[in-house]
């Protein structure tokens, strides 16, 4: 036995024993223990295997800087991988498992990597897995993926719910040590709103009862993991059972009192279980009443080692030797495999079961560095200290390098194999030298090549040692080597905490029309269009439903809920002139009561949105946009009005949800409309016009516009009356065989007419001319995109142009997005074959019950000159022959 619980002392509650399991071993500890202290109290020294060499590892620290004792806790969806045993509070029934071992911790097959260590050096992957290239996908990548990573992610959904809080405060103090408490108290006395955050489980309120003030918020078990711009900081608060929530702080002033971490010393075998930081040994003795060993060797390069030795003796621990590098004595080797058996000093062996390393202190400057604070090297204290920051932050106490001179003298490494610098990434001092020899002298290159400081510990214990050894290897001063930036997060953050409640149905808003419940009751399947839910088709089978809905619309009457269409009310003295600049066509000469279809381009001449805009009055227009483009178009109008043409007097307002739209289409639409609105003179209601009318007893705007090519009336009615209107329309239309249709049928019907859908026939690289809509481009006025339509590139004759395709096999429905070629060839089976020249792609494809055959729309290079010719669509194992035709299938 090596480690054991002291008979008395410590801040643990011996009256409350707790049972837990580690790798299926049943063990017990006390309230107040961490998993690490409880494991040590049970003499469990071997707690994990290292990442690369799978070397046996034990607890090295007593805090957040732990690199070795990473465990998986919890089960199923609550599995939390790579948690630090040193910060994990013990609770009844805790289940923890070690990582990086197979089949067991004590007998790990991959430990053979340790024997291969001479070839698994820095850059091993880059050097080994380069050739032959063909093996990368089949062998190397799966192999590396199998062994890489620390722990494995849970496969089940996380059943916990996480909350987020947003807090504004005057002063945020990070760290509840002596300096932090002093700063918090001083700020609190001025009446400022103060938040004091500490990562420890012991509440700062217990330590400083005078901080219990109404203007002070005290957060224990809370770790600030990120410091961002303008004093925006994020923290995770946990309770004893690791239920967590996310805090966002915006602070006028931040005070960092984050303390300092002790550094390990770099010497051969410094990762053997039983080699610990001297400060950690003291913490285990004092706070947890656990002696990590019986017979200790203290190895130090400063005065603190002597203090630690004194403490050890006071607790009845034998100190076999105090090795002080300043007296030219170093530990040159550690004996023992899975636990320390002794050390070698100057060729003689000293038996011991614990090695306490006192390598000096590094201020915890991670958050300061994240805040863009500068760091400089202190030649006397041998550490990186803060050196100015743009943000309103103060760093105090040990975090600022404010500790008394403790006589530290440089002793950066004892040469030899397996002297670890970064324990978590398995980087040794020899790897640092190798990287330097191979030219990775820049600290940024060095970091990436060796992966030093890149693990979940973000270089907490390794950073300074690595810089110093690199400096030595490249004959530079440490100050000249520089340092890499510490990145968020300071400690790992679970994805669930960041996601909070924004999951599933709460991921983004769901928008439904007032008729939604009716559609659902009729068995509609819904399609997501932006945030909207639109009826896609009614019935179980899409093909059958679409054939039925499409035939009914062309032969009798179909009805569509078009409420999601974007609607923008545009008013003002210059509304007409404004629309002339927005649309490719002219709108200022539109007669009141008439409507016109328009295309909008971006300044580069590419189609951006389309829709019908109607003139309601001299200074009043009603614009419609695509469903998905409504918000984008409104933003677009506002941007140009505010930034380019502020002299125009125009006001734009979204009225999408104020008006619901019921679109009737089909040969019997007029009959039904006459019944619904007996006072409306349908004979004097021409195509592309609007009438205000009473429809089914409700005030409505009726537009005679059509997206199906059929005789069509779009009844716009106030949103809250639209369900009543819909039900009246359905009842009145029953005798005409009225059939509700969904977006799939709408797409089919419009494609039969060759009408485009922005986002389907266009992809941001398509001009009005490419679509064959040059007639909608006015030549005699300026509009957004006009100049670009005269650029040489937009005038090329071989641009992709919209055409129709008729597959040779009339039952063949081509996949949308399929490529089009001039040669009869199937899709290549394997990657790496000879590329096939592609001349276009299928944009829309359907089977039409009205044509009784399949058809498609496509963008094809020089498409209009190819009309009448044949092309091919490569498919799996064959190519479909298609004839290029005019894109209007039903005249």
């Amino acid at each position: 036995m090596t480690a054991f619980r002291l008979p008395e002392g410590g801040r643990i509650d011996r009256s409350r024993p707790l049972n837990f399991t580690f790798d299926a071993r049943r063990l017990s500890g006390f309230e107040g223990d961490t998993l690490a202290s409880a494991l040590l109290a049970n003499d469990v020294l071997l707690v994990g295997r290292s990442f690369k060499y799978h070397r046996p590892r034990g607890v090295m620290s007593a805090g957040v800087e732990e690199t070795n004792a990473l465990v998986a806790v919890g089960e199923g969806g609550r599995l939390d991988t790579n948690s630090r045993a040193t910060t994990l509070e013990l609770h009844e029934g805790l289940t923890a498992r070690s990582l990086n071992r197979w089949p067991s911790l004590a007998f790990d097959l991959s430990a053979i990597n340790s024997w291969l260590a001479p070839i698994l050096v820095a850059g091993f992957y880059y050097k080994t897995f380069m050739r032959p290239r063909r093996l990368w996908q089949s062998l190397y990548e799966p192999l590396i993926r199998h062994v890489a990573g620390i722990g494995s992610a849970p496969t089940e959904p996380d059943p916990d719910r996480y909350d987020k809080l947003h807090v504004h405060c005057d002063v945020l103090v990070v760290g509840g040590g002596r300096s932090g408490l002093r700063e918090a108290l001083a700020a609190a006395r001025t009446g400022a709103r103060v938040v004091l955050v500490d990562e420890q489980s012991e509440s700062p309120a217990t330590l400083a009862p005078e901080l219990r003030l109404p203007n002070v918020t005290l957060l224990a078990r809370t770790t600030v993991f990120g410091y961002y711009d303008d004093n925006f900081l994020c923290a995770v608060e946990s309770d004893a059972r690791r239920q967590r929530r996310l805090w966002h702080f915006r602070a006028k002033e931040v005070v960092l009192a984050t303390g300092a971490h002790e550094r390990p010393l770099v010497f051969p075998g410094n990762d053997t279980p039983g080699v610990m930081l001297a400060s950690a040994v003291e913490t285990y003795l004092r706070r947890y009443a656990v002696a990590p060993g019986k017979r200790t060797v203290v190895f130090t390069n400063n005065d603190s080692g002597h203090e630690r030795a004194k403490t050890l003796r006071e607790h009845g621990i034998d100190v076999a030797a105090l090795i002080d590098s300043r007296e030219d004595a170093v530990v040159s080797r550690v004996l023992g495999g899975k636990r320390v058996a002794g050390v070698e000093v100057d060729g003689r062996t000293i038996a011991c079961d614990l090695v306490a390393m006192a390598g000096g202190y590094s201020p915890v400057v991670h958050l300061y560095s994240q805040a863009q604070g500068k760091l400089c090297w202190d030649e006397k204290k041998l550490c990186l200290v803060p050196d100015g920051c743009r943000q309103n932050v103060r760093i105090v106490g040990r975090a600022a390098g404010d500790f008394p001179d403790y006589g530290i003298a440089p002793m950066w490494q004892v040469d030899g194999p397996k002297a670890f610098v970064d324990f978590q990434s398995d980087v040794t001092s020899r790897d640092v030298y190798l990287a330097a020899r191979e030219g990775f002298a820049s600290v940024e290159h060095f970091k990436r090549y060796t992966t030093t400081g890149m693990s979940t510990d973000q270089g907490k214990t390794s950073n300074v040692n690595a810089l110093a050894i690199l400096a030595g290897a490249t004959d530079r001063r440490i100050a000249d080597v520089g340092t890499t930036t510490f990145r968020p997060p300071y400690t790992p953050v679970a994805f669930g905490v960041l996601a909070g409640r924004d999951l599933g149905d709460f991921l983004e808003p769901i928008r439904v029309t007032p008729m939604h419940e009716w559609h659902a009751a009729q068995g509609a399947t819904f399609e997501n269009v932006g945030q909207w839910k639109r009826p896609w088709y009614y019935g179980r089978d899409m093909h059958q439903a679409v054939q039925r809905e499409a035939r009914a619309t062309r032969t009798a009457i179909g009805v569509l809920d078009a409420s999601t269409l974007g609607k923008i009310d545009i008013q003002g003295r210059d509304a007409g002139a404004f629309l002339d600049r927005i649309y490719t066509g002219r709108f200022s000469n539109l007669a009141i009561g008439r409507a016109r279809y328009g295309l909008m381009c971006r300044e580069d001449g590419m189609v951006f949105d389309d829709g019908v805009t109607t003139r309601l009055g001299e200074q009043h227009f009603h614009m419609t946009t695509t469903t998905g483009g409504a918000a984008r178009v409104l933003d677009w109008l506002e941007e140009y009005l505010q930034t380019e043409w502020p002299e125009l007097e125009v006001y734009c307002n979204s009225v999408t949800e104020q008006w619901a739209t019921i679109a009737l289409a089909g040969p019997k639409a007029r009959e039904l409309m006459a019944e619904l609105a007996p006072k409306l003179d349908l004979a004097a209601f021409p195509f592309m016009s609007v009438r205000e009318a009473t429809v089914a007893g409700l005030e409505a705007r009726v537009f005679r516009i059509s997206f199906t090519g059929e005789l069509s009336y779009e009844i716009n009615v106030a949103g809250d009356q639209s369900l009543a209107m819909w039900e009246t329309v359905m009842a009145a239309g029953a005798k005409h065989g009225i059939t509700p249709y969904g977006t799939e049928t709408m797409h089919l019907l419009r494609a039969e007419k060759g009408f485009i859908i922005v986002g389907q026939e266009t992809d941001g690289t398509v001009t009005p001319h490419d679509l064959g809509l040059g007639r909608l481009v006015a030549a005699d006025k300026d509009f957004i995109g006009r100049r670009s339509l005269e650029r040489p590139d937009t005038r090329r004759a071989d641009r992709k142009q919209l055409v129709g395709l008729l597959p040779a096999d009339a039952r063949e429905v081509l996949p949308e997005g399929a490529q089009i070629t001039e040669i009869d060839t199937p899709l290549p089976r394997r990657r790496g074959g000879k590329p096939i020249p592609m001349v276009g792609h299928v944009t829309s494809s359907y089977y039409s019950p009205n044509l009784e055959r399949s058809f498609a729309l496509a963008l094809v290079r020089s498409g209009r000159t190819r009309i009448g010719s044949e092309l091919y669509v490569p498919l799996d194992g064959r190519a479909a022959k298609v004839r290029v035709v005019d894109p209007v299938f039903i005249k």
């Binding site: 925006f232 941007e639 930034t643 300026d782 670009s788």
Partner: protein, 102 residues
């Protein structure tokens, strides 16, 4: 997360805003008379300096107004926010202190 002072709403989180690229790039009034090179210069070319930069933002989740910001592209410090493209950015009226400057 930047804290941006909207000239109308005051300081708000960056997530309420949308970025609009370089400021003071006016759309040419006589676009048709520009040659292809000059038009391409307007259409595609923007400055990307290391240092102080005047850029456009819109308070998309707030008042929906466009305004200009003078931001340092290295430190992200914002030393000036001012409204409108037509206004002289250095006029005293618009030089209200930014919450970002100390």
């Amino acid at each position: 997360m930047l804290l941006i002072r909207c000239p109308w709403c005051g300081p708000c989180d960056e997530t309420e805003f949308r970025y609009g690229g370089e400021a003071h790039v006016a759309r040419p009034r006589e676009a048709q008379s520009l040659d292809d090179a000059a038009w391409a210069e307007y259409l595609f070319m923007r400055n990307n300096p290391r240092g102080w930069f005047r850029e456009r933002w819109v308070h998309a989740a707030g008042c929906r107004r466009w305004f200009n910001v003078e931001r340092h592209t290295v430190t992200h410090e914002i030393r000036l926010t001012y409204s409108g493209t037509r206004v002289d950015p250095m006029s005293e009226l618009d030089r209200a202190p930014s919450p970002n400057s100390k």
